[in-house]
């Protein structure tokens, strides 16, 4: 039997199983032997990747930087080979109550800032960096849902908004698209909250490979990029994973997060303990 290409993914939700089972069937049908391993947190996944236990990792932006920096530390290289169309050019926004006392960003100085999980690029690290670079630092109130999953679970952002509505924080940080999603859910009305700050665009997840990986990675990438939303056999997989088109990977969209983790030394303890 030809050697299987092994993918690593983090199980941030039960739907992760049908997603990767579906991809497995798709790759196998196309003649690419494929399997996957699920991890409970990104750090364990990156470590397994470094040990060669997986060939390609579906990484959060923070996990990408972890993999890249750990690889550099070992004289190796990491590459982002593909990403979703929906991973490109996200922004985060800082919300405040429309009828509250916070009128501009500077008013948040020293106030309670509701964020998502400690390790969430989109709901914590990047918006806090944007506030800090605007000269604003406050008391950070975290809404940790599933630590180690880098904020993949939307629950942390929802909890931050609930806290803002309840008045236990003065601002809440969420992804731009989740602001719309929360209004659709009826969590708040269109005029209840105001956007006081929008971050610069940044990128989200990517498929990461390390140097020395198997040649089948090329075929894996080809097959990914060939998936068409108009093909009814693969459309359910793309819907579940939240994209219309796979795009070639790029790493130009991680600069904000790099600045954030440098500022907050987010991954230093983890990087230091790597043998």
């Amino acid at each position: 039997m030809a050697k299987q290409l092994v993918l690593g993914a983090v199980a941030y939700d039960a739907k992760v199983v049908p997603i990767w089972e579906g991809f497995k069937a798709y790759f196998e049908a196309a003649g690419l032997p494929f399997d996957y391993i699920l991890f409970s947190n990104y750090e364990r996944q990156v470590e397994a990747h470094l040990r060669g236990e997986v060939d390609v990792a579906w990484n959060s932006p923070l996990a990408w930087l972890e993999a890249e920096r750990a690889a550099i530390k070992r004289g190796r290289t990491a590459e982002a080979i593909a990403m979703r169309d929906t991973d490109c050019d996200l922004t985060s926004v800082v919300l405040v109550k429309a009828d509250g006392q916070v009128r501009e960003t500077a008013d948040l100085r020293g106030k309670r800032i509701g964020v998502g999980a400690d390790d969430s690029p989109q709901a914590t690290l990047i918006p806090l960096l944007a506030l800090a670079e605007a000269g604003v630092e406050g008391a950070v109130v975290r809404h940790d849902v599933l630590p180690g999953k880098h904020g993949d679970h939307i629950g942390g952002e929802r909890d931050a908004v609930k806290a803002l509505l309840a008045g236990t924080v003065d601002a809440a940080c969420v992804i731009d698209g989740n602001r719309l999603a929360f209004t659709r859910e009826g969590l708040f009305g269109p005029s209840a909250l105001r956007v006081i700050l929008q971050t610069a665009p940044y990128d989200h997840c990517n498929f990461t490979v390390l140097d020395g990986g198997p040649s089948s990675i090329g075929r894996f990438r080809e097959l990914l990029l060939a998936m068409s939303y108009e093909d009814p056999r693969v459309r359910p997989l793309l819907d579940m994973e939240g994209l219309k088109v796979w795009k070639p990977g790029r790493t130009s969209g991680y600069a904000l997060l790099e600045r954030a983790i440098d500022r907050y030394k987010t991954i230093e303890p983890w990087l230091a303990q790597l043998s």
Binding site: L90, V93, G177, R179, R184, S228, Y229, G242
Partner: protein, 383 residues
């Protein structure tokens, strides 16, 4: 094209205007004055797979991949297709069906197997003719016949309940196997099952009016019904149940309407006979169509009667208690002259059932002698 959203935000429904514009034109320039348009529009477009670029205060959207590419219309709303593919699934007839929908196991998927042009009319008639058992039946009408005549009524009701239970379950089992593209047939079978549910209710209530226990249920009667219940072929099951069984039951219900000793029982029979007549009409209509399209079906139907007769040969057929109960019920008393009249009425009933079966068989194209032979082989349990 250019779309001006005014002050309507994407958090207030503006996406409908954008979707409508993109359906007409693959590239749309959008502008608006909502405070969060610059945040919401790129986020919404990203999630939808549309590309977006900002030019000052305006945004240019280009339509992304289309979920509806290759979608197929599930026939025309007015009339069914000859064959309904499994991938149309539960979609309404005439709907545009996205490719990739799950394929359901709906084996009765050809018009020739299930369709009758009369289905829509019969369904409409059935829907209009639904009646309320609580008010339609004179439950308080006097019952002043002798106790043993009441026992006979209870025995006949017990027998009717058992048979109507089969008449509910048999179409209900096929209902889940008929492709819903044949909507009118599905609706008709559903209302037929509801009819039978109501019949079971009124027969039970009539039996229970003066008695706390019901009558007898025989192994032979149940064997006859089991052979209907287990029939896997829709055409054969319709033939045995609706054309022959319910057809014979019509005669029985008319008999009860005429000879029952109390008004309540007579009305119970009258109302249920109205419904049963529709069931027989549909069975006949779709089998007439089916036989025209597939003349060999007639031989299969004839063979099915023979098979059923052979399989029930070892059973007693109609239980003697039901037969005797019908005589006593029609007699209304133990008076010998009355019993003679009752007996003659039951003999006439059996002749009427036989005549009715022969007439319906001839409508399906059976020659008179073959119809007579087949009618004689019909189960002695009537249903």
């Amino acid at each position: 094209m250019t779309l001006d959203l005014g002050d309507l935000g994407l958090d207030e429904g503006a996406h409908l205007l954008i979707k409508r514009a993109l359906a007409r034109d693959p590239t749309v320039t959008v502008r608006g004055s909502s405070a969060t348009l610059g945040i919401d529009l790129p986020a919404w477009a990203r999630a939808q797979g549309h590309s977006v670029s900002a030019h000052g205060g305006t945004f240019v959207l280009s339509r992304g991949p289309d979920r509806w590419s290759g979608a197929e219309r599930a026939g025309a709303v007015g009339a069914p297709e000859a064959r309904a593919p499994a991938h149309w699934g539960l979609a309404a007839r005439g709907a545009l069906v996205e490719r990739g929908a799950p394929e359901l196991d709906l084996p009765l998927s050809t018009r020739s197997e299930v369709w009758a042009d009369e289905a829509a009319r019969l369904y409409a008639q059935a829907a209009a003719a639904q009646w309320d058992p609580a008010t339609a039946i004179p439950w308080d009408a006097p019952i002043d016949h002798p106790d043993e005549v009441e026992d006979a009524v209870v025995q006949v009701m017990t027998y009717l309940i058992e048979n109507e239970t089969a008449a509910l379950l048999v179409p209900a089992r096929f209902l889940g196997r008929i492709h819903p593209h044949f909507r009118e047939v599905m609706q008709l079978l559903a209302i037929q099952a509801a009819d039978e549910a109501r019949h079971i209710e009124i027969f039970t209530r009539r039996a229970h009016l003066r008695r706390d226990v019901l009558g007898l249920s025989t192994a032979g009667g149940q064997a006859s019904l089991a052979s209907l219940f287990e029939e896997p072929d829709f055409a054969i099951a319709s033939f045995l149940l609706s054309v022959l069984g319910e057809g014979s039951f019509l005669s029985l219900l008319w008999f009860l309407r005429e000879h029952a000793p109390d008004q309540c029982t007579r009305e119970v029979a009258r109302f249920s006979a109205q419904d049963e007549a529709r069931h027989v009409a549909f069975g006949l209509a779709h089998l007439q169509r089916h036989v025209t399209e597939d003349p060999q079906l007639r031989e299969r139907l004839a063979a099915a009667i023979g098979r059923r007769h052979a399989s029930l040969a070892h059973t007693a057929g109609l239980n003697a208690e039901v037969f005797d109960a019908l005589i006593l019920l029609a007699a209304g008393s133990w008076d010998p002259a009355a019993l003679r009249r009752g007996h003659a009425a039951v003999v006439d009933l059996q002749r009427a059932m036989d005549d009715g079966r022969k007439q319906r068989l001839s409508r399906l194209g059976f020659a008179p002698d073959q119809a007579a032979a087949l009618s004689a082989l019909h189960t002695r349990n009537f249903m």
